[in-house]
């Protein structure tokens, strides 16, 4: 028993110490926890397997998947709103980054949730985010407009027998991706569990409304405004609610 009494606070301290260098707030009982999941086995990121096919028919692998989520706004049934300016950098390969807490309390009267894949204009300029190596590595260089990469989705694709790389990068204000989620009958469940699960579908990046074709539309999107526009529009549909 004594051991347990000592152990518990120490364990708590260890937990607190874990994620001190992230932007987001630690999960906590009263605030809403967001959990980001993916519709594929994440071990494929490390093993390089061609595990799925794009709408245009190319088998793909994924070697990197990182993006920002920000600018959260909830509309209640009575029309009032609450918002959270928590910014989270999600790295599919970093388990810790996929769960974060918004500084708002979930309510059963929630109707619609809005957020951005990317960053709002006021944060999308060089050095606006906390100075961490992770944020610096997401920088969108000044000669290309400054700010940050909203998304880095990279891997390889098969074109017949041949294999090439693709790098789908999105950045700069016009290509930020607004996402809207109608909670409908799930508001009650979310408010009770205090947790919301958003699942990203990889196929959607290349499917809807634009069938993205690496050969025609480019396998490297950075600085290619028409490629970024297609991806940004597709990006509005990549998340679904999984509660």
């Amino acid at each position: 028993m004594r051991n347990l009494i000592i152990f518990l606070p120490v364990f708590g301290l260890v937990l607190l110490g874990c994620n001190s260098d992230r932007n987001s707030v630690e999960p906590d009982d009263s605030t809403l926890t967001v959990y980001v999941s993916f519709n594929f086995d994440l071990s494929h990121i490390a093993d390089g397997t061609f595990f799925t096919k794009t709408e245009a028919g190319y088998p793909i692998s994924i070697s990197r998947l990182q993006f920002y989520l920000s600018d959260w706004l909830v509309e209640r049934k009575d029309g009032s709103t609450i918002n959270s300016d928590i910014v989270s950098l999600i790295d599919a390969q970093d388990e810790d980054s996929r769960r974060f807490s918004l500084d708002i309390e979930a309510g059963s009267d929630w109707e619609t949730m809005h957020f951005l894949i990317g960053l709002p204009t006021y944060l999308n300029h060089t050095n606006a985010l906390e100075n961490t190596l992770e944020n610096q590595n997401m920088a969108w260089p000044d000669p290309m407009g400054g700010g940050y990469h909203f998304l880095k989705l990279e891997g390889r694709f098969m074109d017949g027998e041949d294999e090439y790389g693709y790098a789908m990068h999105i950045g700069t204000d016009p290509y930020v991706i607004p996402v809207q989620m109608h909670l409908e009958d799930k508001a009650e469940v979310i408010s009770q569990s205090g947790e919301i699960t958003l699942e990203m579908s990889i196929k959607e990046w290349f499917a809807n409304p634009h069938t993205y074709d690496f050969n025609q539309d480019g396998n490297y999107s950075m600085g290619d405004t028409s490629a970024m526009l297609m991806l940004a529009q597709n990006g509005q549909h990549v998340f679904t609610l999984k509660n």
């Binding site: 490390a46 093993d47 610096q136 090439y164």
Partner: protein, 346 residues
């Protein structure tokens, strides 16, 4: 038992006892131990650099850093007394040696991966861990030589409060010193500081900067940020068949997806080098950029950012653009760092 043997045993016992007593008296009892009250030191971080994570059990102290500096430049660490760290890691070249694949010691305080192929297959490797490897496995330091030394026991006591030196304290002192090998005062840094009297880029350097930090040159994806390395591992298409030393991270992880991936080296002070890449295969910056320009080889682990539409084998830069990139990399040379007295031999 014969007399001789008995005599020998007595002799041995006396000898060992004498040894033990003499060591005791020298190193513990009669030794005049100095005070253990190390002075904390705050690492000076150049503008815009991310914060440094310093392990709580090895905070920087004046005594620790000074001791690390002395050890770094002392051949006593080598089993045969032939080499010091600085025999290979030479300050005037950014703590590497020309013509070799010796990794430089530049801003390692921020490093999260060490050695070209990652070597230590674990997360959270830090400078303490790497230094311990250098001391125990590479230099095979004979620790008793330090314990018997005229000055070292006192210096270690002042820094760490220990009366018996072990490889751990040696590694900790080296790690402290290496955290002070900070280079962030190159022309590039001064230009970016944009103060009164700060230098400006020449037209060619500016062009190189723009190429470096845009999709045309596309160097920033891996050598971006203030450190000029993102601290990760990539295959940049040097080979398409991977053997021996060219297997890279694979030789540590055994994961075929890691074949040919190597640590991204910093480009700070890289203009001083004349052996580039993990095997020193290129002899000039021009050869390096020629590789990125037209020598990229495809393979299943080639990094995705290395292939752009219509540019399968590289960037397709003009000769003038290559010159501009080289000029820009020269602005990352930090003369103050290369001659900073506190980093040289004490």
């Amino acid at each position: 038992m014969t007399r001789q043997i008995r005599a020998f045993i007595i002799f041995l016992t006396v000898f060992v006892l004498t040894l033990a007593v003499s060591c005791e008296s020298e190193n513990a009892d009669n030794f005049d131990w100095p005070d253990y009250d190390p002075t904390p030191i705050e690492l000076e971080i150049p503008g815009g650099f991310p914060p440094v994570i310093i392990p709580p059990d090895n905070p920087l102290t004046k005594e620790g850093i000074n001791l690390g500096r002395k050890l770094y430049h002392d051949k006593i660490l080598h089993i045969d007394g032939l080499l010091s760290c600085s025999s290979c890691h030479l300050q005037e070249y950014g703590f590497t040696s020309p013509g070799t694949a010796i990794l430089p010691h530049i801003n390692l305080a921020w490093s999260r991966n060490f050695m070209w192929d990652g070597k230590f297959d674990m997360i959270n490797v830090n400078l303490e861990y790497v230094s311990l490897f250098e001391v125990e496995d590479f230099m095979q330091t004979n620790v008793s030589r330090l314990n018997e030394h005229e000055h070292y026991p006192g210096l270690f006591y002042e820094a760490f409060g220990v009366k018996e030196i072990t490889s751990t304290e040696i590694a900790y002192a080296l790690a402290q010193f290496m955290r002070t090998q900070v280079s962030g005062n190159s022309k590039y840094d001064q230009v970016l500081a944009e103060g009164i009297g700060t230098p400006v880029f020449t037209e060619q350097e500016m062009w190189g900067y723009e190429l470096f930090f845009s999709e045309t040159g596309d160097c920033f994806h891996c050598h971006g940020n203030k450190l000029f390395t993102d601290n990760k591992f990539y295959n940049i298409g040097l080979d398409s068949v991977f053997e021996g030393v060219n297997k890279g991270l694979y030789s540590v992880t055994g994961n075929p997806a890691d074949l040919g991936k190597f640590k991204v080296p910093t480009l700070r002070n890289a203009a001083l080098r004349n052996g580039f890449m993990h095997d020193g295969r290129f002899k000039s910056l021009r050869e390096v950029i020629e590789h990125y320009n037209s020598g990229v080889l495809n393979s299943p682990t080639l990094d995705p950012v290395m292939t752009k539409p219509g540019k399968e084998f590289g960037l397709g830069l003009s000769a003038d653009e290559i010159d501009a990139l080289i000029a820009f990399i020269h602005t990352l040379t930090d003369e103050e760092f290369l001659s900073r007295e506190e980093l040289g031999p004490p």
